[in-house]
Structures are given as structure tokens and as C-alpha cells.
Symmetry: none
Subunit: 401 residues, 2 copies
């Protein structure tokens, strides 16, 4: 599909906005009840639905609950099954650690080992984040690797990220976590010749780390998992011919946007700030990715009423977007996060496409899971949204004569 | 999918009719308004919708606007992305030039070159079609190629078609159009060994053409583009076991039907003639492809009211088809041509399937873009319509035990 789009793409002055309300889709709490989105008063979104077309987005495939990585890749028009982002890279992006083509990113976690080196606690008693930070500071000072540039960053509790930067670093290296207590940690072994250097560097890092941490308790060692390189992924400019900008507050989404070649600008702190930043950059870019986190975090918290509130807060900002007169405005989520489930889910996500010049309106007048079922877009894979957006923006030539 | 169908296909005496109203789908002109099809009074089609099932056809993929070639291949049940028809072949088919397995078809265009051979006008001042015809006559007389049989035909204005017929003619030959003025035309170079002969013949053709045209003005040379062989494509008889006939007035659609092995009969001039021809051939064939052009041409003209009229004219002929008692009747388009856009578009196309013995009716009672959204067929890829038609005709055995 990307080959076809590359071949058909056309440049013009249209503007496309993709507003991702993370975890937008939900569920009723009570049988017969309404979802969060159906409950929320959303007069502005409802007006766009009435003028535009709606449907539901399947992030990956029926029944598949996506993480943020696959969820966003789909929305950016990349097949999330073909473009796998390694765990180490996602962990790094999630805390704002930059990952580039020369890097291997690794998830670390502090653990407890006994005098014989056997793991007694794989999570080091879930040490508090401050302890994690202090131990990371010691590692930065005490571990010296000559062959590559090394970065160590705390994540949360017992988790950290290690990044090696240098030439010839493959990522086919096995995890060192033995997966149960009473066993020795494993050596980082390379699965192919290209990853020998990475394995050697990781082994040396772990050897020194064991020295540095030997008198700590309970976190007297660490394990490495999810060795991952920056994925080979075409940029949105290459595939779509779009100059794309990300206006996202949280590091994970900024990182995911960088993966597909978007420029990442300072978004401010609030959604109102993001709207201002969008306006300030309106003439510089063709494609605007806005990310709104709170529909997901309230869902994760199981806070139905709070999720309704943040949806209403989102709705209130919509007129600022339409005032910019985008040619295409898409509002959807990267997945559902029903507050009833307190987690990401596999349910399709409400999808709204507003494109005044070319949209074929349907009969739906309200933004919600059930109304969207009647929408003109049907239930489509998330990866098909970008081609639709490009088509409505007049950015795809005819295929064949 | 074709492999599966080949394996499951079964022969019987059923009749399938595919009525293609070219460019059928549309858009409202005014916000809140109706589309052309929704506006048209179509009592006969509405009755079939009420008795049958409807939905929407996606010609190629979401967001992709098809030309007539991919649009029809999809309706004939061929994946339009896997069966690409070269530009030269489509141009030839469009003017009724036959293209067979030994042929290479090429789009030509007259151009103007200066004394040094540099292109000064890539379209030779858009000479009138009569001049084109006169120049083609001169080429026919003046150019003599020994190695292959050569055909030259005018298209329109500065455009012509050249066809080489012979053995060993590959089509991997580069365009000779330098794509901007001030440059020399390019030599037709072969991209592989199989195309060396084609390149040599084309070079000789161009050498002689330059002599023939040297005193003309402004069209004193020509360029060649889109070298294309007849695609290797299985016939409908091979894949489906259907004896298929095309009853189409315009050359392009007759040519596309020939590509998939349909017999092409004289259709008369009007839709009423086509109905008579269908009736006259009813006992001879299993599958009837009827093509109706005017839903597209009125859309291309931006003539909303006229498109409504030609839809109503189509509706008036429908009883002649049902009187023949087909087992399966499909009415749809190869793409949308909204008169508001004056062009082909990517919007899904209304789709009606009437099959009295086997259809599962839905709740829709009116043929139109919005009613079809509620239809029992859903939104499906065009290439999935033929398997459905075969199934309703009892022409596909059970898969597996």
C-alpha cells in the first residue's frame, strides 16, 4: 500500500489534522447504560459528525488490544504488524530518550541476587523510583565502556533504560532475565554475527554493574531485556509527501512521531497550549498530529465520570481547530480504554472524518460508539485512515487510466 | 482467491448480469442535500433493492481513486493492484485498437523540436485532432519497419497510439519524453534483454518519423511513453467457468472485457439496444457485462441534474433485464464520479445484488449512497463481488468437508 501511495502522492497546500484522543473508546458501566463518549456532552464534535462522516477504527485487527506503539503506527498509516517497534525502543521513547539509527535501546530492571549470583527477587522488592534514580547515578559514574557511547536513564521503581550508541550494533541479543528466581542471570548472547558487538558490550556493562552495585540492597544487580534498534521505517514525508509535525505533551507520543519522521515541537502543557502551537505552526506544516492523553489515563484509572469530563474538555477546544479551516480533520483514538476495564482494550474506536469539500455525509449526528456504527466510513483498519485523509485532501492521483 | 474459486467452481445453467453504471456514486452539491442517485426517481431499482441486498463497493482500497482499468478489473473479480494494465494498452483499448499477446502498445504524442532537436513544446501546441489524423496518415505512409507489423492510430489532439506486433517484443522500454522543454528527446532504451528488439524497432520508427515530419509545424516529431504488453491475465472462463459476453458501447470497456476473455458483441447505440442484444444472446452466455457510460460522463461534466436524468433513464430499462429472469443481477459502478468534483473519486460505490433464490434481504428499500450504508452486503472490495455472484448462482461448491 505504501508503494502505491508513494507512486500516487501529489503535493498541494491542503492541511490535515489528526487529533488522537488516546484510549477514546469505552464501555457502559451498567447494562443498558452509555459509554463515556456517549455520556459526554460534545456539541462541537457532534456538529462535525453531522457535517462529516464517521465510523470505527480497528487499531490492529479484530480482537487485538494494542499498546501505544502499534496503536499510533496504525493511525500514522503504517501496518502495525509489519512495523514492529522493539520493547527497548518503546521504553526509551516513553521516557523521552532519543533513539536513532546507530542506537540499541534496552529495558533494564534492577534485581536481587544472592552470594552465588542466583536471582532471589526479579524486581528487587520494587524499590521506589528515588532509589532507582540514585542507583542509575552510580552506574553512570562507575561503569566505563570504551567501545560505545552509553546512556543510562531511570524509568520507574526497579525499571531503567540503557542505550548503546555506536557503529555495528545489531539487536539480536537474548534477554538476561532467567524468568524465575533461584537461577543465575543469563549471559547476553548474540543471535547473529551483526549483534556480537552489542552482546560483548552488554556483557561488559553487566560485569562492571555487578561491581558497582555489589554493596547495595535489595537492588544489587540488573537484568537486560528487549534489545532493540531503531526500526527501519519510511518517513511520512517519503511515503505521503507530507511535512508533518507532532504537538504532543507526553514523551512516548513525541518519540513515536519522531520514528515516522515528524518534526516534534514544544507543545506547552495543556490542550489549549497545543491549540495555540498548532495555530502558530499552521503555515509551516501540512500534517498536524495532536495527542491528548487524558482520555486514556482516566480510563486506566477506572474513572468513568472523570473520563466524561476530559472528553467534554476536549470538545470545548474543537472550535479552535475548525477555525484554522483544515481541509481534513480526523478525530479518533489509538485504541479503546474503557474505564470499566481499567486498561487498553481491543474494542473498535470511534472515528470522525470531517472534510468539507469532499466528504460524503452519512446520517449520524452524534459522536459515540453506537452512532458511529451507522457511519459512512464503516469499520476500517486504522492503517486505512491515512489514505482516506490524503484522498480527501486531494493528495492522491488517480490509479490507472 | 482465484485459485480457490478455480478449485470450487461448478457449472450450471444460471445467468449472471453485471450492469455497470460508470461513475455511479456521487455527492450532494449542498450541505445537507442529496446525491445524484438519491435525488433520482428509481422505482425499478428501488424494488430490486427492497427484494435484494445492497451495500457499497470499494473499487481498489480506501482512498484510492481508480481509472476505468482498475475499476473494471475489480468488478470482474481481479485484484486491480496485482493486475496492472499498462498505459499504452489502456490508451489503445480506449480508441478500439485491439491488443493481443504478441503486441506492444505505446502512447505517442506529437511534439515540436528546434533545429538542434531540442523539445520546444511537448504537446505541439495542442494541434487539433484533424491535424493529428493527417499526420498519422503521413506516418503510416512514410514509416516502413521490416521486423514487426506496425499500426498507428490517432487519439485526440496531439495524442496517438503506436502498436508493434511480432515475436519477442518485451515492454520494458523507457519513455522518450524528456519531461521538460529545452532538452533532447531520449532514446528508447531497453531495461532488459527481452525488450531489446522493441527498443530497436521503436528507435527505427522514431528515426523515420523525424524524416517524415521534418517539414511539419508545429508537430515535427513525436515522443513515445507507456510501452506496455497485453497483461498475462486469466480469462473469466478459466477462473469462473463462465462464458461471458460484453455488451458495451465504448471502446475502452469492450477492450477491458476482451482482456479477461469476454466475447464482445455489437451492442447497438442506446441502452435500449443493449437490452435487446442481451435478450438476443440470453441462451448463448452465462455472464452478461452491460456498460452504461452516461452516469460517468455527466459526472465529469459537473452536470448534477443531467446525471440524475441518465440514472432515471437507466432505471426505466431495468424491467427488461428482470424480464429475462437472471439468477443474479448486480448493479453498481466502477467508481464514483460526483458531479460536484467533475472527476472520478475514491468514494465507495452503491451496490445492489438481486438474486431471488438465495439473497438474504436487508432493511433497505431505496437505492442511494446513504441507504446502502445500512445494507446487508456492507462495504466490500469490488473484487469480492464476483465470488458473491457465483455463490448466489450456485456456481461454487463447498470448501472443505
Amino acid at each position: 500500500m505504501h508503494d502505491l501511495i508513494r507512486q500516487l502522492k501529489e503535493t498541494n497546500n491542503t492541511k490535515i489534522v489528526l487529533l488522537v484522543a488516546d484510549g477514546l473508546g469505552g464501555l457502559p458501566i451498567e447494562p443498558g447504560g452509555k459509554t463515556e463518549l456517549e455520556t459526554a456532552r460534545t456539541p462541537n464534535l457532534d456538529r462535525l459528525v453531522a457535517e462529516g462522516a464517521c465510523g470505527l477504527s480497528l487499531p490492529v485487527a479484530p480482537g487485538i488490544t494494542p499498546g501505544s506503539g502499534p496503536g499510533h503506527l496504525g493511525l500514522f498509516g503504517y501496518d502495525p504488524l509489519e512495523n514492529d517497534i522493539g520493547r527497548g525502543v518503546l521504553e526509551a521513547l516513553g521516557i523521552g530518550v532519543e533513539v536513532g539509527p546507530r542506537d540499541v535501546a534496552i529495558r533494564g530492571n534492577f534485581c536481587t541476587i544472592d552470594a552465588e549470583g542466583r536471582v532471589t527477587d526479579r524486581r528487587a522488592g520494587r524499590i521506589p523510583t528515588e532509589t532507582c534514580e540514585a542507583l542509575v547515578a552510580k552506574l553512570r559514574q562507575g561503569v566505563r565502556i570504551e567501545e560505545v557511547e552509553t546512556l543510562v536513564e531511570p524509568v520507574r521503581e526497579y525499571r531503567l533504560v540503557v542505550r548503546f550508541r555506536g557503529e555495528g550494533l545489531g539487536d539480536d541479543v537474548c534477554d538476561t532475565d532467567p524468568l524465575s528466581t533461584g537461577l543465575h542471570t543469563l549471559e547476553p548472547k548474540a543471535g547473529n554475527a551483526d549483534s556480537e558487538k552489542t552482546a560483548r558490550v552488554a556483557a561488559e556493562f553487566l560485569r562492571q554493574a555487578k561491581q558497582v552495585l555489589r554493596d547495595e540492597h535489595p537492588a544489587n544487580f540488573l537484568m537486560m531485556r528487549g534489545f532493540a534498534k531503531f526500526p527501519r521505517i519510511a518517513t511520512m514525508e517519503d511515503v505521503y509527501g507530507l511535512k508533518a509535525v507532532a504537538i504532543a505533551v507526553y514523551p512516548m507520543y513525541r518519540g513515536l512521531a519522531r520514528l515516522v519522521g515528524m518534526t516534534v515541537v514544544e507543545p506547552g502543557k495543556t490542550l489549549a497550549d497545543q491549540m495555540d502551537v498548532t495555530k502558530a505552526n499552521w503555515n509551516t506544516y501540512d500534517f498536524f498530529f495532536l495527542h491528548y492523553k487524558y482520555t486514556d489515563s482516566t480510563g486506566e484509572d477506572g474513572a468513568f465520570a472523570k473520563k466524561v469530563e476530559v472528553i467534554e474538555a476536549l470538545d470545548a477546544e474543537i472550535p479552535k481547530l475548525t477555525a484554522l479551516k483544515p481541509d481534513v480533520l480526523i478525530v479518533t483514538g489509538d485504541h479503546s480504554t474503557p474505564s470499566r476495564m481499567r486498561s487498553h482494550s481491543f474494542h473498535p474506536v470511534p472515528l470522525l472524518l470531517w472534510a468539507p469539500a469532499t466528504v460524503r455525509p452519512d446520517l449520524v449526528t452524534e459522536f459515540g460508539e453506537r452512532p458511529c456504527l451507522q457511519g459512512g466510513l464503516g469499520q476500517i483498519l486504522a492503517k486505512h485512515i491515512m489514505p482516506l485523509a490524503l484522498a480527501h485532501a486531494g493528495r492522491l492521483q488517480k490509479f490507472g487510466a
